[in-house]
């Protein structure tokens, strides 16, 4: 189990992780979801003792990472695909890691086989593709057969087959009773993999909930209506106190009503309908809505200082977001 208490990380004036508290439990895949620059990697680096928290603390199975006596057996981590020396062969890289923790070298060949790198075990990792580097990183994480696993954007660079493979791997690891904590910026990916969600935006936890519950709570559906008398219908809907907007094609989008209500309204007023449909918001939209709100909340008190600050948390990465 991973426990963070009031975890905070500041880089100069920038607060990357802001007073965050959460628990990651064993036996399920916990998705760590947030847009670029939200603070996912920073949080993971603090869990692994790589970055020192500015305030608060985080423990793995009750201990600070740096106090672990068998780190690779207790925690396996994939930080990023490029956290290795490209001059070393894949096998040598794993041998170096295994030796430090007293893991038998037979295990090195086992994990190479698990991640499908046996055929390139004697090749220097510098020539590996992003996906192969990612697999080697995963091999390193699995080396100690750890109880807790951390993956920072593991599907990065993987092909569809690789994505399916890591999805199943994570589920299997959680099924064996391990703690699996995986970051992503894709809600759709998490919906397929995770059982539990920890949503982070601008360094703050926005949601800590089951995936199903998150979807139920956050996906707002609306009714889409196409009508030759759209303007008239929009007036009627507004008069009924409903929220109405238009999509680019000119169809009306009516919030928080049923198709029955819209159909009845149109019928009573003699408005022709060409289409009447209930539209479920996608998970991605639910997620964007949530993180966008967090930005409003953040900038509500103080006006944004720079253009970059004014950009919602979800969007193209800004230069500031990419540093580090």
């Amino acid at each position: 189990m991973i426990v963070a208490e009031s975890l905070t990380k500041r880089y100069g004036a920038k607060t990357a992780v802001d007073d965050v508290s959460f628990e990651v439990h064993p036996g399920r895949v916990t998705g760590f979801l947030g847009p670029n620059g939200a603070g996912k990697s920073t949080t993971m680096r603090m869990i692994l003792g790589l970055d020192r928290p500015s305030a608060g603390r985080v423990t793995v199975d009750g201990r600070a990472y740096r106090d672990l006596s068998a780190p690779m057996v207790q925690v396996g981590a994939l930080i990023d695909a490029k956290a290795l020396h490209g001059g070393r062969t894949a096998r040598d890289h794993l041998v170096v890691l295994a030796k430090s923790n007293g893991i038998p070298l037979t295990r090195v060949d086992e994990v190479l086989d698990i991640v499908g790198l046996t055929s390139v075990a004697k090749k220097r990792s510098g020539g590996f593709s992003l996906g192969m580097g990612q697999r080697l990183g995963i091999a390193g994480a699995l080396l100690g057969d750890p109880r807790v696993l951390l993956f920072d954007e593991p599907v990065n660079g993987l092909d569809p087959e690789g994505i399916l493979w890591i999805r199943n791997l994570m589920k299997r690891l959680a099924g064996e009773g391990r703690t699996v904590f995986v970051s992503s910026h894709l809600m759709s990916e998490m919906a397929l993999t995770a059982d539990h969600l920890l949503v982070i935006g601008r360094g703050r936890i926005l949601a800590d909930t089951g995936v199903a519950q998150f979807i139920a709570e956050n996906s707002v559906s609306h009714v889409k209506v196409r009508s030759p008398q759209a303007d008239r219908l929009a007036e009627l809907a507004a008069a009924a106190g409903w929220q109405v907007s238009r999509d680019p094609a000119g169809a009306l989008l009516v919030q928080e009503v049923t198709t029955d209500q819209v159909g009845d309204l149109a019928g009573h007023n003699g408005v022709f309908l060409h289409e009447l449909a209930k539209v479920e918001a996608s998970l991605e939209e639910a997620f964007m809505r949530l993180t966008a709100d967090s930005v409003e909340y953040h900038t509500g008190g103080t006006p944004p200082k720079t253009a970059a600050e004014a950009v919602p948390g979800w969007g193209p990465p800004t230069v500031a977001d990419r540093i580090g």
Binding site: M1, H25, P26, G27, R45, L48, G49, L50, D51, R52, D61, G62, Y65, R66, L68, S69, A70, P71, M72, V73, Q74, V75, A77, I79, D80, K82, A83, L84, H85, G86, G87, R88, T89, D92, V95, V96, L97, K99, S100, N101, G102, I103, P104, R107, G137, G140, G144, D145, P146, R147, G177, R178, T179
Partner: protein, 273 residues
């Protein structure tokens, strides 16, 4: 859910945990599995031996003339003269052992596997020092045999048993080992290959010579205390004028390096990786 899953020992490796010996073993595996180590050590050996041999061959007749005329016998200084050039390789190896971890990103994986940072640095230092001592001493002896062959041809050879000769050859290994550690310390402090190598070379070749120009007793002391000036005395058969005696000089160099390494350890412990 408040129950914590036990950090159960896995069936895989009940004895798997960190020990200093294992960290040493891992660092040994690290240094020997990158090609640059072999190339750098080869450069150290070849450059030192070839230059010692070449200079001895060129200078042997002059030395013989000086000795015949009763002037100072320069033969002892020629035995390992090439190490003055080969030593750059030891510095580079030391710097790279640390900065390559940063430039490749390996440091994050290393510190995840071994979060005991001071122990990792100590293990790295021990492995590096041992490798450089062995290769350095072998280089010293090879320099001696080849250079002495040239000197012997003009009857100004120096016997291995003469005072200070064996000490200077073992001292070559010792000096190069500490020089490597000096580079490693600069590497952990600066975390940048080019910066650390530049600073190291500047300290050894430029500053060490320039401070000799400062007049008076202060200047003499500053020159004496410069790392390479102090440390290299252990490599010479007879210590140079105005410099420390061989062992005190080496002790000064080792102490300076130790201070830098301790500073580096503090920073490594404190800084984000």
């Amino acid at each position: 859910m408040t129950t914590t899953a036990p950090a159960a020992p896995t069936a895989l490796a009940p004895g798997a945990r960190l020990t200093f010996g294992r960290i040493l073993d891992s660092e040994w595996a690290k240094i020997k599995t990158v090609r640059s180590t072999v190339w750098t050590l080869l450069a150290l050996f070849v450059v030192s031996v070839l230059i010692s041999w070449g200079i001895a061959a060129l200078a042997a007749s002059d030395v013989a003339k000086d000795v015949a005329e009763g002037k100072k016998n320069d033969a002892p200084d020629l035995l390992t003269v090439g190490v003055a050039f080969g030593q750059i390789a030891a510095l580079v190896l030391g710097v790279m052992s640390m900065t390559a971890e940063y430039s490749t990103g390996m440091i994050r994986t290393s510190l995840t596997a071994v979060p005991w940072r001071a122990s990792m640095l100590a293990a790295k230092a021990l492995v590096l020092a041992l490798v450089l001592f062995v290769v350095g001493a072998i280089t010293g002896f090879c320099c001696y045999f080849l250079a002495n062959l040239m000197l012997d041809a003009k009857d100004v050879g120096i016997a291995l048993g003469d005072p200070g000769v064996i000490r200077s050859l073992i001292g070559t290994g010792l000096y190069l080992a500490v020089l490597g550690l000096f580079g490693m310390a600069l590497g952990v402090l600066l975390r940048h290959t080019a910066g650390a190598i530049t600073l190291g070379i500047a300290l050894i070749f430029v500053v060490g010579g320039v401070v000799g120009l400062i007049p008076g007793k202060t200047g003499d002391w500053i020159a004496k205390l410069m790392p390479a000036n102090a440390g290299s005395q252990v490599m010479s058969v007879e210590a140079a004028d105005k410099m420390f005696r061989p062992w005190p000089g080496f002790a000064v160099f080792a102490a300076e390096t130790l201070i830098l390494l301790l500073l580096g350890t503090l920073l490594l412990e404190k800084r984000d990786a």
